[in-house]
Symmetry: D3
Subunit: 211 residues, 6 copies
């Protein structure tokens, strides 16, 4: 079941949007845990609120950026991430480093596109992305593309067919990782850094987020 938090930015571009949207993420995960869902997918390529969600979720939590990178690492010698606006480059580079993917990710490539351009019928977005992927293969020596935005999922087949390399979409990768974890009976360890939040007072507007 996919939900979009009913609070937060219309799209996530940069650290500020990320902080705000993280709140929506943990909110939905808490609701889901109360209802007994089995696992959670954070479906924005910045993986906002991922670690926090792990503390309050009753099952495994997967981010689409981490899922896409890990999945891609099994099928190529090196991939490039192709994403939207330039301001996202640093966030993705930090994720590459955080997930130990420096040896697999040959380059993070960003474009002039805004996230919401991807949803505009008949826009040039599709071709802008394709050309950036083409450069990734020619210049980065990458043999796989990771699409760096949840909104690019419907480009997978098109780009893969045009360029002849595997193309990884984070949402699909995340669903598969979740299915795998749940199927193995695995969930986030409670023994240390992802224990349930300590009980304490939460003040003001945030009172309702008290664990």
């Amino acid at each position: 079941m996919a939900v979009s938090p009913n609070m937060g930015p219309a799209s996530i571009e940069g650290h500020y949007d990320e902080v705000i949207s993280a709140l929506g993420v943990v909110d939905e995960v808490r609701k889901g845990s109360a209802q007994g869902f089995h696992g959670y997918l954070v479906a924005c390529f910045d993986d906002p609120g991922l670690h926090a969600a792990r503390e309050v979720a009753n099952g495994p939590v997967v981010g689409i950026a981490e899922a896409a990178m890990h999945m891609a690492s099994f099928i190529c010698e090196g991939f490039s991430i192709v994403a939207t606006g330039h301001r996202n480059r640093i966030i993705l580079e930090h994720l590459v480093r955080a997930y130990g993917m420096e040896h697999k990710c040959r380059k993070v490539r960003t474009t002039e596109l805004a996230v919401l351009d991807l949803e505009v019928e008949g826009s040039e977005a599709r071709n802008v992305i394709l050309e950036e992927c083409r450069r990734a293969i020619a210049e980065d020596h990458s043999d796989c593309i990771v699409l760096g935005c949840a909104g690019m999922a419907d480009l997978v087949d098109y780009i893969s067919r045009e360029l002849g390399v595997p193309v990884v979409d984070g949402v699909a990768a995340g669903v598969k990782m979740l299915e795998g974890l749940i199927g193995m009976g695995l969930s986030t360890s409670r023994a240390c850094g992802y224990a349930y939040p300590n009980l304490k007072r939460y003040d003001g507007e945030m009172a309702r987020f008290q664990p």
Copy 2:
């Protein structure tokens, strides 16, 4: 001028608390920017909301963990961070990595203490911290201590005197870094990843955070 956000957890322990408190951080920084402050210090050793605050602040923003580690790197061959509860270890280890301090930080050490224990008159907290620092010097070969919690500032002199090594408090370090940056006329670059947030719709409870 020091402010404590009027919303958020009473102390910050773990990723969930961090996400919630980051909202208070960006809120205060936006208020401060409207009033024309010159710089901002995020005074929790997890550096919550640091990158987001840089996007909306009108001047430099410094986190006390990053300030303490950078400052310490000038005066020692290697330091240990001594912090409170064990669940914070992973967050601090991630910061060490994010700040490029793997070559200087010999170990992150945590204790059984909760953050709020530090404020209890006559508690054992003071000695627990001192003994952990002593082990850091003996076992990690560290020649400097970085105190991993804003609430430990008043232990600097005591520990330094007892152990004969420099002890770095993040709050003091952060103030000095800010003074330095402001004195040099430097502030966060707007040219790329820390540009002001893109204008867009923010929904629901988060509407008032719209950039």
Copy 3:
């Protein structure tokens, strides 16, 4: 369908065994590809012949060590690998490095056990492994165990229940990764380092391995 090559060592311990068994791996994968299987799992924790198998397979190939480590990275702050004989430590440490898992794998732990001890009814193997896992949690601050041998699969539940942390078995993890890749229609990229082997003469005993 699980096959065990009909040539090679009875168990795989060290680099020499690995080289010999890699031949059996590529042999079986070539047979499987001729029969049209959809994917391949290399079910020894040294991942012998993994990269070579990718060149000749008609579908994705997964190693159980890489699968276990990647899967574990989604559910813990840090894991220890607990394996058999000490001579395997260096091979596993090389894999940790090759898979970019230095930030997640806190320690490779080996025991006095030989691989075949695991199959002996009523042996002490079970307890030796459990005690090493217990030390991993206490001394390495790991909050997850990766079992470093295909022969330990039936210990997952026992150890997990005794120690209260998730325990990851590579065979199960590998099956899930394969299912995920196949489900997404992904297979090894042919664009570069994993292209089908160049056609050329193979001499002597190896003539039948000619691509």
Copy 4:
């Protein structure tokens, strides 16, 4: 109080110049310590003699390369260092690595300029540097410039205005770091690798450097 050692090369370009000038550095620091100065700035971007100076100084010692890089790390997503002659590249790359700045320094850029060209009235040096900085922003995706030579301090405002990004001069950064350290009462730890030199015989021309 700024001093220039009365012995050593007229400018510092390469490892040989560095070794010779390091002697002047420790000589001045020893004189200063005898006179009771509070801190020391090594004002050449190769940081010659920095570690040795720490052993004999009575207060903190800061190098301008380390100060500039650390200071820059607080205000940008990534910086390029723009320096003089090509032979200096490797020394600066080693410093980037030694200071843990691989994640922040996107490129070390050198030019055909000699250090002393910077002091020639009406030379092209100013423009050569500016154009290299422009390339740093366009090609390296850097959003901040670190000037890699003490002689470039007067270009800070010009370049910053022309390119619209923060520009960091090491001398100014070093002064601020020193003020910060001294203000916090911090100095080099004596507990381990920066202890005062062991007493022993010094022979020949070097006799007067005996600790």
Copy 5:
């Protein structure tokens, strides 16, 4: 005494060829050890079977890729490896990483050449290699070339004279490393990961490889 195994591929290009040729390597090393040779050189730039050979050899074993890279590290600030077909790039990049040469190897460069092209009288191979080396110096800022194929040994003088930088051939480097090790009385440590293979049953075609 140089031997070429009488089984295996005519040239080694890619992981599959590597696995097959590794068998020939360990076979020859076992024969040599029975005859009492003093040391062994694996003379293919992929270093196939190197670690396995160390387990069964009665003296030190050196690979030409590792020898060339280590030797080059003593005489330059940074080298580029210039090799044959593009499919070898990933194998060489893995070796760079495995040997800790990321700080010295500025780039792995491959060409359209097949290994066997190098042996064709009057081919363009010589010039293709030279031009790639020229680009390495101009674009990578390398000041040394490591030739990435055993078949390039006779190009050393030509390229070195044309480009004015040292050029390192792995076979010559390997011989020198072996002479050095043997001269010092050093051989592979038996204490841990390179102990003689464990005794056990080997099945089928591989029975004759039983340790």
Copy 6:
């Protein structure tokens, strides 16, 4: 031909001694180059003045620490360096990092010994070193010892026999590396960072070091 500079400290312990002794190193190398020697060995385990010597030498220059570590990397899975006084640890750790040996050097171990203790007849030095080596094998899982001081050369056989692992002495290793480089006709590249020093004025006491 071995020379000991007629100026500088009686032994080298720490950064200050290193700076002073580097001057003696470059002085002797310049004299040697005028006389036409073929290569140079810097025979102190801190490798003082190594890079500078490369700029002024007429042949290859090798440091005993770099030679020992590289040589050891061919014969073991991991080594420990066992050295004299604790203040040398940080210098050796920096060298390990600078030479890309983090993956091979499992630990730098220092002892209470002063360098000159090694020369005292009948001292306990021999046993102190042996016991530290024993701990290296037991606790670090090292299967090789690198002796971290030129003055330990005569302990090689004793320790190797007692502990059953290869023991590497830097002086012997350095001689072999030099012989190898000279035999291959290789010397330091002049193309970039190790070019001969730029001509310029040298002042004061240092005038005679003018290139």
